[in-house]
Symmetry: C2
Subunit: 188 residues, 2 copies
Amino acid sequence: MIRRLLPSALVIAFTGAAPSISGPATSSDRVPGGADRGMPRFRADGALLRPDGVERWVLVGTSLGLGYSNATDDGVGMFHRVYLEPGAYEHFLRTGGFRDGTMLALSIRKPVNRVPPSRAGWSEGELAALELAVKDPERFQGGWAYFDFGRDARSARVLPRERCARCHAEHAARDNVFMQFYPQLRAR
Amino acid sequence: MIRRLLPSALVIAFTGAAPSISGPATSSDRVPGGADRGMPRFRADGALLRPDGVERWVLVGTSLGLGYSNATDDGVGMFHRVYLEPGAYEHFLRTGGFRDGTMLALSIRKPVNRVPPSRAGWSEGELAALELAVKDPERFQGGWAYFDFGRDARSARVLPRERCARCHAEHAARDNVFMQFYPQLRAR
């Protein structure tokens, strides 16, 4: 019943442009709760550290089974939650734009059904993967880069452009962000 | 394509026990941001005021088309987001229980499909209704009461027991809360 996680289902949720590290990356393992709270943290080798507390960020959109191509089986696909880091959310509400350092997180869960007492519909199973989009024009060509932490990796490297960035650049409604799927953002 | 919002689809998400106001209600229009921040606010006549900023609360679960009876048409039902007020969320993480004053919010949205560039799956349309569950054993028989703000009502009265409370009392996994649908709560 559950469609396997297709690359196309991932690609639709995020993208920037050429997400290659544009120069020597610098260490920025900063103090949690300090001035850099809410900002992405990178290792010296350029890998992004998995942020803590994503489940407390602001949910901007949910979807089930989003994909690019017509479904070819009867599966329902995966549940997506897309979160915006709270500081970036407040910035967006004030300005309508995404500040440098903006992080969006995509959590991916398998759907489950017939969890008692439900007899119809779908709710969320356990976490399958966490992906991140980061805006940092000084670090990434095109401004944004994308990262896949899987279920529990503590750090992740930039994904190749074909995985996310191209589609976001071509199809996202504003600044590489798929506003069209996020009700409380598209209302602004 | 879109199944109409059935009472059964609502009932599944919330419920307490007999949600009648047990005595003369008192006014508690408290100062936002003060000591009562994160607590429900009632008018003198017992109506609950719609809380601000629910979209910043902690999402605990998403579902599509959850219902009690077998689906009778090919509609997919409604998207549900269930939020827990942040103070109550932190209390839950510490104790595994729901403090007095806990608020859970259910936002209901129609699903939309084929929003470009998607060609499969469902994302969220505009808000159809906001419902609230409030734990207040001094105020409500059975401990919990349920409220329906529709799309934009500023206050709401307690719903009759048949609407939500009975099913929550009978089927919710813990203290009238449908933990079984909320991944990051059921993990605790």
